[in-house]
């Protein structure tokens, strides 16, 4: 078996890439994609720790499935939000939605 560390590194790398995407992409959908990446990275991390530390427990798997479901729901909600925003501002560029500016 390869060591746990490699899975953690991959998860971390994915997380950081996703974070970078969230922080730097202009398009709101791309930001959502970055969020998805982060969530998947977290999932990998979770599953790696389950498989290597307590493989017999079903709790790891259950947790991962909940994360997936939440991610999916969250994307649905996010997209609904973006559609509403698009109807209002005619644009999904994150920088343009700054009504809460002082």
């Amino acid at each position: 078996m390869i060591s746990l560390d490699w899975y953690l590194i991959v998860a971390a790398a994915l997380f950081v890439i996703g974070l970078f995407g969230v922080l730097s992409r202009k398009n709101a959908v791309a930001i959502l994609m970055g969020v998805e990446l982060m969530l998947n990275a977290v999932n990998i991390n979770l599953l790696a720790f389950w498989r290597y530390r307590a493989p017999t427990e079903p709790v790891g798997m259950a947790f991962a499935i909940i994360v997936f479901a939440v991610a999916a729901a969250e994307v649905a909600v996010g997209l609904a939000l973006f559609i509403a925003v698009y109807r209002r501002f005619n644009s999904v560029v994150a920088d343009d939605i700054n009504l809460m500016k002082w």
Binding site: L23, I97, M100, K101, W102
Partner: protein, 738 residues
Amino acid sequence: MPTTTLLWLLPVFPLVAFALIVLFTNRNKALSHTLAVGAAFLSWLGAMVIFVRALQIGPEALAEHPIDSWVNWLPTGDGFLKIGVMLDPLTAAVLFFVAWTILMIFVYSIGYHNFGQPEGDHDKKGLPPHGATIVDEHGHKHVVPSVEPMYSRFFAYIGLFAFGMYLLAVSDNLLTLFVGWEIMGLCSYLLIGFWFAKPSARAAGIKAFMTTRVGDVFMLLGIAYLYKATGTLSFQDIFKPEMLHALANVDSGVLGLSAAGLIGLLLFIGTVGKSAQWPLHVWLPDAMEGPTPVSAMIHAATMVSAGVYMVIRMFPLLKAGSANEAFLSPLVVMAFIGAFTALFAATIAVAQNDIKRVLAYSTISQLGYMIAALGAGSYVAATFHLITHAFFKALLFLGSGSVIHGMEHGVLHTGNHDVDPQDMFNMGGLAKKMPITFWTFLIGGFALSGFPVLTAGFWSKDEILSSAFLGGHPVVFWTLAVAAFLTAFYTMRQITLTFLGEPRTKEAEHAQETPWTMTVPLMVLAFFAVTAGWVGIPETFPGLGGLLPNWFHHWVGATYETLLEEAHLVGEMAEGHSLVPLMTSLTVSLGGLFLGWLTYKDVKSPDPATDPLKRWLGPVHTVLQNKYYFDELYQVIFIRPAAWFAEVFTFRWVDRGAIDGTIHAIARAVFDAGKALAYGFDLPVISGAGDLIGNTVRSFGRAFRVVQTGRVQDYMVAAMTSVVAFGALVYYLLVFAH
């Protein structure tokens, strides 16, 4: 009714009339004069009852035990100042003439102020009435005399005046006398300035009040000194031999006078003011600005008589004060001033052309006679002349008022208002037009001149001349004799110019006799002017002496006879009777009358420059006519400095400059301090602090709000950074700090 109640009531009636007229009946002329004359009548009635009762008691008993009644008035430390009334022989005699003259003047005033006549065309309150135009049944317009606009006010004022005089006459102490004295001073101001819209009348009123005030101040000093020395002001207490001796023996420290002497001198100065003796005589001629009944009242019946009455009343004190023969002892001063004034005023009177002014100077002169009589030591003679003078001078003044009314009738008829109805040179021939006035005036004039036997003035003047001669005062005697000559001269001048000959102007031609309200008082007073002398015929008079007892001398003399004897103050009267005074008196009186008639019987022109005396005397006449320029002298010495002091020093420098200046400076300083505080402290410091706090908060806010960009990604960056930082911190604390 007990006599003391009557005495108290005498002043009260006119006072009540005054109050009622002022408060209630001012608009109703008839009611006002009824109240006033009614009050005068009641007081007259009371005075007559008192007089009869006094006669019944008899002079010696009355002198020994005067009827007295007093009340406590003002508390002073351990005693009281009192108001009181008294009846002694002198009071009874004074009340007699005061009551008659006041009543006659009150009745006369009704006619004088033209009661019953229409209101004037353009009469204003404060100016003498000017006449009313009426249209008779044929359509002819006539200008008739109009009724005085301030009719009721006049009666109110003379009511107050009567109150003052009655109060003075019945008073039993110097304080009550002084109160009456001052009330009359006020009334003289009010009445002389009665026609207040005339500047000359206003000035004359002030002049009268101020001049008599000068005298009053000294009189008050005398009263104060008397009170301090004796503790009492009541006549009964002062006129005791012990008291007089005590006052005569104390040195006052002034000019070698005893206390009695100084008090007497100070009181006499009050009389100099009130009775218009030189040098305070200047107010009396100007007082002719008032209506003629006022002149009669002030200058005959009441006010100037009050001055002489006071010194007669205080005679024992004056005599005691002159015992040590100091330089300015009261009797010597009085003899000098009295005789001097008598001659001085008589010389001025011969050069006056206004009918009332002649009488004014005549009054001053006759008062000088009375004062000189007192100075010569005979208070009985002074009282006698006081009483006869009151009657004939009141008669003369009222008569002159009647003449002026008659002349005004003429002036209204011709419409020529440039003609002065009071100038004797505009008159003439009035004997035919105004017979009653003429005969009564003649009787009064003869009484003034001392026409022998038939007039009262002769007897009283003769008594004064005799007492001066026999008392060893030759200078006084001859001065008074010359004055008597001049008196007769100017009186006959006056009568000749006014009544005899032919009318010199159209106005005199149209003169008319005056109504009964004016002529009846003249006749009553003329009766007294003839008969009042016969109560005092001296026993030593050749022929008539001894036929009638000298009631007057007996009566008034009893007042102080015993007191003067017991106090050893009786003067030495030369025994024996000389005919010199009598002969002198006859000569000057008849000679003066004849010469006056002779000089003036041929004056035809109304121009006063044709006065024969002007030719004889030349420039001296001008000096006399200008009254020796005393008014001008006083103007320069006293009036102008006083006016300057009031206007410049007190008003401009002290009041506006110093006092107002200080106040304004304080105001400015306070204002400037306030402004400094406001702009220097309140605004920058206190407001500034508040503003500073606000501004600071705002600048912090401005600085920090840049964090809120409204962009989600920026918030995410911030969040991530914080997570990293917190994570590091927690990692450090949990892993390394343990």
